[in-house]
């Protein structure tokens, strides 16, 4: 009898463990601006897709490649259980777009308030870092534009350091003509596309 009880308990424990252990919860959330989020995919070991989680405010229980349960949850429950965690996310990175007189590092008068605002933002963020990204228009070759945009970003990086930023927190990158502000055909001169974006994060 006691042997049977032990066996029964052992079985119950084993069942409980298999029922409760190793299941992870995944919750998809909307972006901060309220726009729908993308998706999270449950992948296999070679990167193949087994399941796509694309419904917001749904508690999805997964283990391995298996979805065990997918139930709608109230946003207020997410807030209650995970609000403190989500509120602790760092502030979203903010972009400041600067325009310069052609061929100089002199900020155009219309960009001066942006420069002031970005410096204030850096001062207000804890552990801030700054990335300067140069962009070109589509005039010239792609490779040349990569070089030109990085050169431009490095010049602006130096300007920001002159303005008092710590060199260790400022990095520079060139995106060439990959991220046009205004879509144009190739080989098109366009002042709005020749810009530098300073990201404060």
């Amino acid at each position: 009898m006691s042997g049977f009880r032990q066996l029964a308990c052992g079985l119950a424990v084993a069942l409980l463990l298999s029922a409760c252990g190793g299941r992870d919860k995944v919750f998809l959330l909307p972006h901060d601006d309220g726009t729908p989020s993308g998706a999270v995919a449950l992948l296999g070991s070679t990167g193949e897709t087994h399941h796509v989680i694309d419904r917001q405010y749904t508690e999805v229980l997964v283990s391995g490649k298996t979805v065990h349960k997918s139930d709608a949850v109230d946003p207020s429950d997410i807030q209650k259980n995970y609000g403190a965690l989500l509120d602790h996310l760092p502030a979203p990175p903010k972009d400041y777009v600067l325009y310069f007189r052609e061929g100089t590092v002199t900020v155009m008068p219309r960009s001066e308030p942006e420069l002031t605002a970005l410096l204030a933002d850096v001062a207000n963020r804890l552990g801030a870092d700054v990335q300067v990204t140069g962009h070109t228009d589509t005039l010239g070759s792609a490779a040349n534009n990569d070089r030109l945009s990085l050169k431009r970003a490095n010049e602006i990086r130096r300007l920001l350091i002159e303005q008092g930023l710590d060199p260790k927190v400022v990095s520079a990158a060139g995106r060439g003509e990959r991220e046009l502000l205004v879509q144009t055909p190739d080989r098109t001169r366009h002042a709005e596309n020749r810009r530098v974006v300073v990201t404060v994060r």
Partner: protein
């Protein structure tokens, strides 16, 4: 001899430059309670502004939290009693191509994806002890089962 010294110095310089360029993958932004970073067998106290490197491990104590912004603009917020390994982080700031793999060994992680996931879906991955999650431009939460 002089030529050899020059070659060696250049090699060291390149290694150093490459090393510093790759090293910085993100920064700690906020800490609540006790949070630390394990790096090569050492345990460092997490503080805002601290630079993170590939293969660092984020660890939080009870009632503690730590949050990070990575250089591709993705963001993490780790909840209490969590252990998160920043396993792989490769990012090309020009093309935005890369790979970002983190392992949530225990605890809870809030994630907002950045430029790596935007450029290449599933290039950002979150591993749990049993599952692999591919990120396709999104904000989500993962809580590892007990």
């Amino acid at each position: 001899m002089g030529k050899f010294t020059t070659v060696v110095s250049i090699a060291i310089m390149i290694a150093f430059l490459a090393g510093t360029a790759i090293a910085d993958i993100g920064r700690i932004k906020r800490v609540k309670g006790t949070a630390s970073v394990e790096r090569g067998g050492e345990t460092l106290s997490a503080t805002p502004g601290m630079v993170l490197e590939k293969q660092d491990v984020l660890v939080t104590g009870p009632d503690s939290r730590v949050s990070v912004t990575f250089i591709d603009n993705s963001r993490f917020s780790a909840g209490p009693d969590s252990r998160i390994v920043l396993e792989t982080f490769d990012f090309d700031t020009t093309t935005h191509e890369g790979a970002f793999v983190s392992r949530v060994e225990r605890g809870t992680l809030g994630i907002v994806s950045g430029q790596i996931a935007k450029q290449t879906p599933d290039a950002m991955r979150i591993h749990t002890p049993t599952s692999i999650l591919g990120v396709r431009g999104t904000k989500f939460l993962v809580e590892v089962g007990q």
